[in-house]
Symmetry: D2
Subunit: 391 residues, 4 copies
């Protein structure tokens, strides 16, 4: 056990943050707010927290946002904040998917950095527009593929990069849940409603909500690019409008192969995201529910259980670690690491600089890659499970 | 914990057993012999333990087989034993795959029951001939898909059958190993040599050696029949003649879907056979390396860890259990359960009876199903990963 | 999985917080600060962050504390803040142990609520004085026995209280670490230095640093009071001034018995705090490193794995839970729950009210109980391992 | 994974074995019989399987023992077998404890090797007589402290011996069960009846039945000798005659310290035997319910999970291993290793030789040590938990 101080606090002036979505009754908004507070790098000062103006204002007041910065719509907020000398520097977009693109565009165009939930947009076209706009405006754009923030995932990535696994052959990714085993969207679950509604979620249900997380994580850790996929999307629950189970075969550039399974009807699984990677020299295994552990085996040697903060932790893990080994960190800390990394980039941007090389967070391009993955999977499945190029 | 006597010893006269294959340097022969001894239902009295007559005889003598029953070939043995008044009643065939069919035919035709290793034969044609011959001769024919012998697998099957999981939606089966990560067949491993040699193994490598186990187990537990599959077989190790990694999508009759992954190049996995089944009402999870546990969740209730011999064990598990809960049973006990079940069938046959309904073991038809699975997988893969009917 | 919003944000005005200790190079100060921020109930506005005035001020500036509230000593800070109209309402004391009592006294006497690290003081006498002072001043006094903040520990306590375990018979508590396996106090570890120095830590080393956590947790969950103990304290590392291993037998009022083991030399253990409780009807098991799980068995029934946020979670767990089941929470969230509960008490006090009954946090009396435990253990060990009354 | 043939079959003539106890309704007799068969080194040819002559004979016939060797008493059997030219060479004694000594004496005096269940006798005095008799007769005497037969326990012992852990400081042993949580001895459990009856079990209940196993295992692995102990034995269940919970502090010669907990009332524990050993350089952890794994950590390095048969397995484990890594072995295989090792000693004795150095099994002296442990624990507890010398 190493006992050391948090590496997160840095003393820089807090970033003025706004939020779109995440008002009363929402789930992920509170997660973003906690994540933004953990390292004291942000201050939430403005919000358009609901598409319902009244609820938006009420939610803002509850959170201690000043009345004049409790906006009824994101358009209003983008405009007003851009005009203030103390206007927000960054905005967190935590709405259902269909609002991501319009909101992101509004803030980018207003010169405000964006932290946006995933999947990035409703479709690839929208995603490409965002990429172009980010390129044009030069603003920071982080996508909260939050699982990339876990320290042992950072370590896994570093180990692959250093060649500890040799050449990668196999990537097994899965993300089973069970919360949509029954037709929750018909029994009052607000979360289930919009996630199974193509108008608000896009063409993918399970594939968009969690399949894309598993895919993003697989690419993040291995550094591989997906060449083509073959997908079978299933809707098991009668009357549901979108897929609730996803089975995919993957061929990566360079020859690695993989499988991806995501499901919302796997009874007994809560958030069972798991990644396994095998190369010519070694293998890795990581499970989101127990994120402080990373299994590593060199071929022909005993298995090692690497622990966050413990012996065997690499600097890439240590720099996003807050407490000593054996004191578990969890989902919120991993999420906070995305915010912390984005903060470093924003602080650099304040000075007109690039962030340091070790600053890593999913960008608008990763968001686009996620949309291309979703689109290819939906297309492959509709075409009778044909191999389909990605991107 | 219940402390109770073994349920296996029965006092009936031991079955006179012969063995084909399994001599010096072999692996699985010793496993079969231990399995046959555990419940004291068999006595090994004859053997043709190698295709090399000299080694065959030497091996037999080492095992205490009488010199006049230490045969140089299985043909000789079938003939001689059939002619003896105290001739063998059953034979265990534990050779490489290509010898299964000829040996099985010889003994069936000689009126001798057969316990045969898997995969059943080199191809579907041979397997069908064996099915016909078993039907014609009326002999007992057990195939050692040994994982079906584990008590908690028996329980899983019983739970599915009773409807504890509701209607099955998803079947996730996997069997990763790592022992062929490098080209062991070129560096003196006898086991690796014949398992990667199409002449001795048939058209499938990994798919035949372990993929077929995973498939058999999935069907055994769920009672489902596979309708069609889509397979991607890969040979990762250069110069290898057969597949060393298998990725399969499955569609079962009735609408359930599944994935199957088997690999011999997944570094860090030893014999990672795992089965997960999800239905409308519940989910199950079982791992071969920790076989005394069965995870079960009813939708909306806490997860249960059912233990072999413990509270929550069903009669179907208890009847193949030998020691109290918390005292682990393993691979050999599971294997022995196949032998014990076959013994019950053979003892019934002695009296011209059928075995009791609760006697369960994989038969020649399960062996045929395995061959059809292998053949379909190889065909699907060669056809560019097309959906292919099974059987 | 239930997806629901955080239950922590409440919209009340933030509590103005000061901090004593926790400056550059310290460990636990950063933990307290993160914990205070997670639910947005506190604002850190003043600090005396080191016993070295210069370092104290530098540390405060780094944290964004206004220069006029960056104090050189806690005495100065207590006095100045008490005099300000916007003075701090509460102070977090995160110094080495020997400073707890004097600092706590200064702030209580200044009318400021206290959140103090454990062990409470250097000895029982000091602790009793604090209890008296808290009684006299009526101020809130929370002790950060942070493990009581974990949701599944809240659930365990509730289950015992409801009688789910029947009458408690056995309490097995342990807290092994390995970071003092070698003489780290001689090789530059600041943390090791003060923790092995009787002047700064008091009469107990391992017993005071982690034994007292295990003891507190055992009492918190079971509701039992310790009657007497028999302790064997050992110093394994040559030259060390305090114990680095603790073995204790415990007799609770009412007849339950227990064992407690704490160690700083158990190679391979990071922060291995574990609690197991067995009653006439059921048993519980919880491990700090995997805090989102609680094992529960009713006698004669299958084991259940209860998960934070999952089916089987009780309201007492749910009210301190922030994210859905399967998304792990960790050490910082548990720690934050102590802060959140104290915030509720302080917010009630603002209105001259008592907090709601469901608000639970370790108080100055728990801190005293910890000191009595340490003192009894040291006395028992010195007396040749005699049964010694506690309290 | 290494795939290799069993190391157990050796081709020597089978040892003629008799059995005392273990008839109908008994538990451990069947275990001994399976253990004796697994490696084909023994043939059960005679038995006095019950203290009830009629049941003894009926049980023998059921097991296929010839009628003239189905004895009504062990005295009769010892005499008759000693007189036969094909008389038994060894006897397995599997009765309740009070019959161990008289039976063992009878067979030793008849020149027959003994394999005896534990605890060795009713008291130390009887045990010493057996030691003397073994010395005098020169017969092999194995005690089935069967947990010493597990391969990873053999490895743990070898690792300690080679100094991989440095100097041992701490030994934590535990063996919790829950089967006597209620008063099973009053509701028809034959196993519970004799195990809670001082006339048949001796002065110790839980301490004798399972505490002694934990103690034996701790000494076997560490090679340490116990100097003194301090015990608290408790009877939690009203009306029970013997202890059902055991808490012990231990001081080993050389300075290591330890704790031992055994319980029969720990709800949820089946056979929770666990051993943890910590030294100046490394730590080990092993759990009986998952016996194919051994956790090992070198101080300052990542944890290793060593697997039976896997990379990192030592020759001392490999020589008692039958199946490849990832194919679990269990309780019966470990038990069989005691029989296999005793067989090697008996085979050597046939030739008037000593067994090879690598042959290891618990002897009559280990049995005596177990009795001395029980006696010291009972004495310490009765004396008010005083430190008590052992042996």
């Amino acid at each position: 056990m190493t006992i050391e101080a948090s590496r997160q606090e840095q003393g820089a002036e807090r970033i003025r943050l706004g939020m779109v979505g995440g008002g009363q009754g929402a789930f992920i908004g509170a997660v973003h707010r906690i994540a933004s507070r953990i390292d004291d790098q942000y201050e939430l000062v403005a919000g358009a927290l609901s598409s319902d103006p009244q609820r938006a204002r009420a939610s803002a007041l509850e959170l201690g946002i000043a009345p004049d910065r409790a906006y009824g719509s994101f358009e209003e907020m983008a405009k007003a904040e851009a005009a203030r000398p103390d206007g927000i520097e960054a905005v967190a977009i935590v709405t259902p998917n269909h609002m991501h693109a319009p909101a992101a565009k509004a803030f980018l165009e207003a010169g405000i950095h964006v932290i946006c939930d995933k999947p990035l947009t409703l479709n690839v076209e929208e995603a490409k527009e965002l990429v172009d706009l980010v390129d044009k405006t030069g603003k920071i754009f982080a996508v909260t593929h939050n699982y990339t923030g876990y320290p042992m995932i950072r370590q896994a990535r570093a180990m692959v990069e250093k060649g500890e696994l040799g050449e990668i052959r196999l990537v097994q990714a899965e993300y089973p849940q069970d919360w949509l085993t029954e037709r929750a969207e018909s029994t009052g679950s607000k979360q289930a409603e919009w996630r199974t509604d193509p108008k608000r979620s896009g063409a993918g249900g399970c594939i968009g909500d969690i399949g894309t997380h598993a895919y993003n994580l697989a690419c993040f850790v291995t550094g591989l690019e997906l060449h083509e996929l073959l997908a079978q999307l299933t809707t098991f629950v009668e009357g549901r409008q979108l897929d609730d189970d996803v089975q995919i075969l993957m061929r990566f550039k360079g020859g690695a192969r993989g499988m991806l399974w995501a499901s919302q009807v796997a009874v007994g699984k809560e958030n069972g995201l798991k990644l396994r990677v095998y190369g010519t020299k070694g293998g890795l295994e990581w499970t989101q529910a127990d994120p402080n552990y990373l299994w590593f085996t060199r071929f022909g040697e005993p298995k090692q259980l690497l622990t966050r903060g413990g012996a065997g932790a690499w600097p890439q893990a240590a720099r996003v670690t807050r407490v000593p080994a054996g004191h578990p960190e969890g989902y919120l800390e991993g999420f906070a690491n995305i915010y912390a990394e984005a903060a470093r980039a924003i602080q650099a941007a304040r000075k007109g600089e690039k962030p340091d090389d070790d600053v890593i967070f999913p960008t608008v391009r990763d968001g686009l890659a996620g949309m291309q993955f979703i689109e290819a999977a939906v297309a492959s499945s509709r075409a009778g499970n044909q191999w389909t190029k990605v991107g």
